[in-house]
């Protein structure tokens, strides 16, 4: 399979007079056509900023993409003019957000919010767009799609709104769907349903997904590949089976230990001690060192590179340097 999105050394900073926050500090992500890649990490690790940077929707003034490449389908999006970038957004790359309750415009009908994208990018007539919108709403499980077009978002539940968001995001048949915690705000039964719709639709349209989440249960269910982020950097990347079988980075191990095990005897739920470092107190060495159970001298003085492992895995940890034994 060919590579669809290849993000290289992406850096997004929040620059103010007081300080520079390196929200995204040299991220690499690669997604193949039709593949689902999960981006995981604790709150504040820079997941949303990574996705907004890919879309070039970083809040401005303040946020700024200061370096790197976002190669998409053979061209670097960061080099495109704003006008060309607009043709990519919502059309080739679309996005759904964490907050279904507030992500739809309260004063526009569902129909308007779906058809406007089709008319803008695909130059459809009103009638064509309307028919397509009905189709899309049916695909995300609304049986009375026709009447729904005239409804306003406030009448819908969170799960229904997220389904509308999916229909909207899929309307132009994008090559990549970025889903920023699409199910976090929903209750568990609805979560499964939303994921199901996302999986089916993207499979049907051969859309690749960048799924941002901190729910490792979701990751194991839908992702092919996982990128683990910590404090603005990638600390481990792996295919999903190997990551769950044998997590390498102590941070990943910590994340996996903090999922409650459902089968077997009740395990003690372990959480990683401490918090993500604040931007103005970044450790000099490895960013995870202050919380790492396996920390040793070298970790405190310099930050490791991403070290290649077998099967294309990579890990940012001195434990896996040439000559060290995995612990």
């Amino acid at each position: 399979m060919s590579v669809l999105l290849d993000v290289k050394n992406l850096q997004t900073h929040f620059i103010s007079k007081k300080q520079t926050v390196k929200a995204v500090d040299g991220i690499d992500i690669s997604i193949k056509k039709g593949e689902t890649v999960a981006l995981v990490g604790e709150s504040g690790s820079g997941k949303s900023m990574t996705s907004l940077s890919i879309m070039q929707l970083v809040p401005s003034p303040g946020g700024e993409i200061v370096g790197g490449e976002v190669n998409f389908n053979g061209r670097d999006l960061l080099k495109l003019k704003e006008k060309e970038m607009r043709k990519v957004r919502g059309n080739e790359i679309s996005m759904i957000f964490q907050e279904p309750m507030t992500s739809l415009n309260p004063v526009l009908t569902i129909g308007e919010q779906i058809t406007e994208v089709l008319r803008y990018h695909k130059k459809m007539s009103k009638e064509q767009a309307r028919r397509r919108a009905v189709e899309l709403l049916k695909l995300v499980g609304f049986s009375r799609a026709e009447e729904m077009l005239k409804d306003y978002p406030h009448r819908l539940s969170g799960g229904m709104r997220q389904r509308v968001m999916i229909a909207m995001a899929m309307s132009c048949d994008p090559k990549l769907l970025i889903a920023d915690e699409p199910t976090t705000a929903l209750d568990v039964t609805i979560q499964a349903q939303i994921l199901e719709f996302m999986k089916n639709l993207t499979h049907q349209f051969e859309t690749a997904i960048l799924l941002i989440t901190h729910d490792l249960g979701v990751v194991s269910e839908v992702a092919d590949h996982v990128v683990v982020m910590y404090a603005g950097q990638v600390v481990e990347t792996s295919d999903v089976e190997r990551l769950f079988d044998e997590p390498k980075h102590p941070y990943t191990q910590g994340l996996l230990n903090s999922i409650p095990a459902i089968e077997g005897e009740i395990e003690r739920l372990q959480s990683i001690k401490g918090n993500v470092p604040l931007p103005d107190e970044m450790p000099a060495g490895c960013r995870f060192a202050p919380r790492c159970p396996k920390v040793f001298d070298k970790c405190l003085t310099s930050n490791p590179e991403l070290i290649p492992q077998e099967q294309g895995r990579k890990v940012r940890c001195y434990l896996y340097e040439e000559g060290e034994d995995a612990v």
């Binding site: 879309m55 607009r86 957004r89 309260p106 406007e116 803008y120 406030h154």
Partner: protein, 316 residues
């Protein structure tokens, strides 16, 4: 919708009764009586008693109120004490259209200038543009209407001669819409300045609130231009609270029109009100107060209905 409107109208009744009682009482507490105004000081007491008798000025105040209110409901506001024999309703109706035209024009000016300024200011928050608009608004808020009015008359009509300094039209000339607009512009602009500053501030903060909403990010993620995002997705949301502000501004608008009409010799009910106050022409004063109250209540009702139309989340 219809029942919502009806409910709102019924709710307005006690408000209007309250206002009428208040005006009526205040008017009677004020020093100076119509008798002392209208009759020569050297007039004999029997004439005075006859006068008071004739106009019901000796009745107990509650009785006077009930009589006045009863007639009022039937559209009879009594007769002017000064221009004897002239029905108050006729005096007001002769003047009311001028006031409504003036207010209408100023509302349009205020909207056309303030809302775009507020939007621009919000889009360029913390830039020179934003600071200039903010500074201008505060100057506008702090400067009294009559002073701006006098200044503009001095500058634009006296010095430059671009606009007439008063009246609704050039006397002794056939009706011409251009001539009317020419006369209307300055007073309407001055009246607008009072609320423009506030309206600009409200539009700015309302748009700032809207700009950081999630649905705006959704709209941007759809690939729309920033103008489409702001004007299609943002503006309607931003206008909703401004509609209410409009309703709330109406009373100050009336107050402003009194001053502006006076300065520009604009024959509206505000100008009439001042004349009547000086002459202690009670029926006229009360008539105007009541009409203004009805108009303000009506204006708020319209604002509420507009709100319900604009915001699909309102259930009525």
């Amino acid at each position: 919708m219809l029942s919502y409107i009806l409910r709102r109208i019924i709710m307005a009744v006690p408000i209007l009764i309250g206002i009428s009682i208040l005006t009526f009482s205040v008017m009677h507490l004020a020093p100076g009586s119509p008798t002392s105004m209208l009759l020569a000081p050297d007039i004999g007491p029997e004439v005075r008693i006859a006068f008071e008798e004739r106009y019901g000025l000796n009745d107990p105040i509650p009785v006077q109120y009930v009589k006045w209110m009863g007639a009022m409901i039937q559209g009879d506001m009594g007769y002017s004490l000064v221009r004897v024999g002239m029905p108050v309703s006729e005096m007001i109706m002769n003047r009311l259209p001028n006031t409504l035209i003036l207010m209408g024009a100023s509302t349009i000016i205020a909207i056309v200038i303030s809302i775009p300024l507020g939007i621009i200011s919000a889009r360029r928050q913390y830039t020179v543009t934003d600071y200039s608009v903010t500074f201008g608004s505060f100057v506008g808020i702090a400067t009294p209407n009559f002073w701006i009015g006098l200044l503009l008359i001095m500058w634009l009509s006296v010095n430059l001669g671009w606009f007439p300094s008063g009246g609704t039209h050039t006397l002794n000339e056939p009706f011409s819409i251009l001539d009317r607009l020419h006369h209307l512009f300055l007073p309407a602009l001055v009246l607008a300045t009072a609320d423009m500053a506030g309206l600009t501030r409200y539009s700015r903060s309302s748009m700032l609130e809207v700009i950081r909403q999630d649905y705006m990010r959704t709209a941007r993620a759809k690939g729309f231009t920033e103008n489409t995002v702001i004007y299609k997705h943002g503006l309607r949301n931003g206008l909703i609270p401004i509609i209410t502000i409009f309703g709330l501004m109406l009373p100050s608008f009336f107050a402003g029109s009194v001053v502006v009409e006076r300065i520009f010799a604009w024959p509206g009910i505000g100008d009439l009100l001042i004349t009547s106050v000086f002459q202690r022409d009670y029926p006229v004063i009360m008539g105007i107060t009541m009409i203004s109250a009805v108009l303000v209540v009506l204006g708020n009702l319209l604002a509420d209905i507009a709100y319900a139309i604009f915001d699909p989340r309102i259930e009525y």
